[in-house]
Amino acid sequence: MKEILSDLDAWRAEGRQVALARVVNVEGSGPRDPGAAMAVSDNGDVIGSVSGGCVEGAVVVEALDILETGERRMVSFGYSDDEAFAVGLTCGGTIHLFIEPLDW
């Protein structure tokens, strides 16, 4: 979150709605460690990253949905999961993200 802090400040100062996604757990091989963060604004702008680019697109979709509903939740992406997960990590691991509106 450290890396995106000044961008978050700018967004909040502009009064934008922001969703924050943080990696909380990684199983197996994953490109970014717990604490890696990205944020999505209500107009779809993105800062930061939570993987090597594998799942960011899907995180944006989830984040925009969470901004709409206001419901924070855990979201997981993994190669070995059900086919329900259309996107995964090419390196074979599973990452668990906590995505929430930055309403705090």
């Binding site: 979150m1 450290k2 802090l5 400040d9 909040r12 943080r22 909380v24 757990n25 197996g28 091989s29 994953g30 490109p31 460690d33 717990p34 604490g35 924070r72 939740r73 855990m74 390196c91 074979g92 691991g93 906590f98 929430e100 309403d103 705090w104």
Partner: protein, 267 residues
């Protein structure tokens, strides 16, 4: 609306003070947060005072160890229960890289140190060379002897920090090594040819640096990647700092096996 909790977290991170953020990610009250400072002071609540007490105690420990991860508790903070999952995120100040010697390799090393997120301090006793103009990328340029630099930073050095001694002049590097091995710093690299280092070892023995201290020295400094220029050498030093911290030897990925992102010794 920006909360007081966010403000306090933000201020600590910007001021480079250690701080932890605990967030309930599963279970009752998901999304509630605690900001925890190293002395155990808290802002916010996870919904139950006993849970706050236990989580803040754990967060202080995680923060001291520089760890970030998920822990499980009962709704009132009970151990060995899993009603509530809490993500504890540690924000530590950036690691320190002390570079001794304002030589031609220093600027490149300071630049790559910044790339790795180090707080880079360049020190040299010669005021003509140790100037901000020559090292604008450094966070601080000190005109100082090694003793003064270690008096300022020695106590703060730990496993994630690095000392790089590039002076290859016994007048500077013997006292710098002496003080460096007396700290808990994770990496000590010393520049110079094998012959220079052999002479240096004699002097270090003379001033009483023991074998345990000598064994900590990465000298000649850097990985054997055939670097020639200051920039290439800086990459070889930085790569050695990473390998040293993670406890990996440094072969090419092609010649090793297993997942690329395998767990490292510092996790």
């Amino acid at each position: 609306m920006v909360s007081e909790l966010y403000e306090r977290l933000r201020e600590a991170i910007v001021d480079e003070r250690p701080v932890a953020l605990a967030t309930v990610i599963e279970g009752h009250n998901a999304g509630t947060k605690l900001v925890v400072e190293p002395d155990g002071d808290i802002i916010g609540t996870l919904g139950h005072p006993e849970l706050d007490r236990i989580v803040s105690r754990d967060a202080v420990g995680e923060l001291a160890a520089g760890r970030t991860g998920v822990r499980h508790y009962g709704a009132e903070g009970q151990a060995r229960e899993t009603d509530v999952s809490v993500f504890i995120e540690s924000f530590s100040p950036p690691p320190i890289m002390l570079v001794f010697g304002a030589v031609d390799f220093t600027a490149a090393l300071a630049r790559s140190g910044k790339l790795l997120g180090f707080n880079v301090i360049v020190a040299d006793a010669r005021s003509v060379f140790a100037t901000v103009k020559r090292f604008p990328m450094a966070d601080r340029v000190m005109v100082a002897w090694p003793d003064e630099v270690f008096d300022t930073y020695g106590d703060r050095l730990g496993p994630h920090d690095a000392v790089c001694i590039l002076t290859h002049d016994p007048k500077f590097d013997v006292p710098a090594v002496q003080r460096a091995v007396a700290t808990d710093v994770g990496y000590i690299g010393v520049m110079g040819s094998r012959r220079t280092h052999a002479t240096r070892l004699e002097r270090l023995h003379e001033v009483g640096v023991d074998q345990k201290g000598i064994d900590r020295l990465m000298a000649p400094i850097g990985l054997d990647i055939g670097s020639r220029t200051p920039e290439e050498t800086a990459i070889s030093v930085c790569a050695e700092i990473i390998a040293n911290r993670t406890g990996h030897s440094a072969p090419s990925l092609r010649d090793s096996e297993g997942p690329i992102h395998r767990p490292t010794a510092d996790e």
